[in-house]
């Protein structure tokens, strides 16, 4: 018990160092750290992300909307470290309240963003661990760039028991992804899983038959999700409506459309953006397998038992 507590204190200390170094990385590169409201009158409707109600609105599920408002008003490079809230997400890799690092960079596409993400994590490991590798789940993951890339289509072909097309068709995308593909991703070197099917574009730009969206995996752990941003607001509105329709089909409550956002934001500059889970990054750097071990206080710590 005492040993565990001591370890946790060390982890929390390292976590604070990680946050400090992330800020250093972005400041050096000319980013402005921003803070945006947590309490919003609306959230981005997404089929499988549920917001927590608060007062007459919601706690944000990510700072995406507000940061995009800032981009539309002329900010060019911004980052934010904040708590995000998602109802019902609780497991070894999920907390209903978790810490997100989100950053946006104008005039670059998702390829350049992947490289920026690489640089950040290499910088953190060099500064904090004194090496360019991570030891996780008994594996040594080498961080030397460039990191691997694999398209979603190719990942299903290589690691899945069925093709991407069949998996989507039969509603088994998540099963194949979680139980067959994810454990194989980013084992020797981190890997960017990229080019999602159009139906999973979220708010990314479409190109040819895919979405310019990627997820970063390190040793099977999903760390970040980024894309070349969709900048056409009419198209964005259309996609949000589709997500709300999907929610209704899933018997979930649809969310109010972010009309206030669309009133202010007519067009986004060309840009890319990424959300990175800080808790999972700390898990990686500290070689911890349970997200509850890298936060100072867990939801369970607050209950009476």
């Amino acid at each position: 018990m005492l040993q565990g507590l001591k370890n946790k204190k060390e982890i929390i200390k390292l976590r604070a160092e990680i946050l400090h170094k992330i800020r250093e990385f972005f400041r050096k590169r000319g980013f402005v750290e921003v803070e945006t409201p947590f309490l919003l009158p609306y959230v981005i409707p997404e089929s499988y992300i549920d917001a927590i109600k608060a007062e007459d609105g919601y706690l944000h599920t990510s700072p995406e909307l507000c940061m995009k408002m800032l981009l539309a008003s002329g900010y060019k490079k911004i980052f934010q470290i904040c708590k995000c809230f998602r109802k019902g997400e609780k497991g070894k890799l999920h907390l209903p309240e978790f810490t997100m690092l989100e950053w946006y960079h104008v005039e670059i596409d998702y390829n350049a963003l992947m490289r920026e993400c690489e640089s950040l994590i290499i910088f953190l490991c060099r500064e904090l661990l004194g090496k360019e590798s991570i030891k996780y789940r008994e594996k040594e993951i080498v961080l030397t760039p460039p990191w691997h890339q694999i398209t979603v289509h190719e990942a299903f072909k290589r690691y899945g028991s069925m093709s991407l097309h069949d998996a989507v068709d039969r509603g088994l995308f998540e099963e194949i992804m979680v139980y067959e593909i994810e454990p194989k991703l980013g084992i020797e070197k981190p890997v960017f899983l990229k080019d999602y099917p159009v139906s999973m574009a979220a708010l990314s730009k479409l190109k040819d038959n895919h979405a310019e969206r990627f997820e970063l995996y390190i040793c099977g752990l999903e760390i970040a999700n980024g894309y070349t941003e969709l900048i056409d607001m009419k198209e964005m509105k259309k996609r949000l409506k589709i997500e709300n329709e999907k929610r209704k089909k899933l018997k979930k409550e649809p969310y109010p459309m972010p009309e206030g956002f669309f009133f202010k934001v007519k067009q986004l500059p060309d840009c890319s953006g990424i959300a990175l889970g800080i808790d999972r990054l700390v898990m990686l750097i500290c070689n911890e397998e349970d997200i509850n071990n890298v936060v100072a206080i867990t939801p369970e710590d607050l209950t009476y038992c």
Partner: protein, 187 residues
């Protein structure tokens, strides 16, 4: 009615009209995709263990289970008879339903009988039961070089290892969860 977000270790639900208890639970959610709720479930009647993966749209019927304190009366053939001490109602369980608990089931022992939709399906023993040793070979020091315990037979027929000083006719306390000797009972 439970929804998938209620699923957790220890929850009891009905699948195909039989009660199951979740013995292992894992929440997964890839990217912006659907949440998966992977459960290992144990059938509370047959003991069979199955794996199932649920999604947030799935709903579950809570298992209607009730525990009642009852006293073990007797065993006849394959049937174990228990009685509710307040209503004097008697119920019967098969040897299979009683399971390993039979090793510690002495006459008049108070146990919890588990009912599913009004039918008895199993029992839960107290953690400790005091049981009489009915057969023990006399122990001569030096009989064995390897051990300071010996096997004895309990009144239930169960064979257990105890310290060599335990003699036939004595009572010992047994931990029913591990099936191991705890201490000698002086009467």
């Amino acid at each position: 009615m439970y929804t998938a977000s209620d699923l957790r270790k220890g929850l009891k639900i009905v699948i195909n009209n039989e009660p199951y208890i979740i013995i292992d639970f894992q929440f997964s959610k890839p990217g912006k995709g659907q949440a998966l709720y992977k459960c290992k479930l144990k059938n509370m009647i047959t003991g069979v263990i199955i794996d199932k993966t649920y999604r947030s749209i799935d709903t579950f019927q809570p298992a209607d289970l009730e525990e009642r304190k009852m006293q073990f009366l007797y065993k006849q053939d394959d049937q174990y008879c228990f009685m509710d001490m307040e209503t004097y109602e008697q119920v019967f369980l098969t040897e299979e339903q009683v399971g390993d608990a039979k090793n510690f089931l002495i006459d008049n022992l108070e146990v919890e009988v588990l009912f599913f939709e009004g039918r008895p399906i199993g029992i839960e023993l107290p953690n400790f039961v005091d049981i009489k040793v009915v057969k023990s070979e006399p122990w001569v020091k030096g009989d064995s070089v390897s051990s300071n315990t010996k096997p004895v037979v309990l009144e239930t027929g169960y064979v257990i290892r105890v310290p060599t000083f335990i003699e036939e006719g004595e009572k010992i306390r047994v931990d029913t969860r591990t099936g191991e000797y705890v201490t000698r009972i002086k009467e």
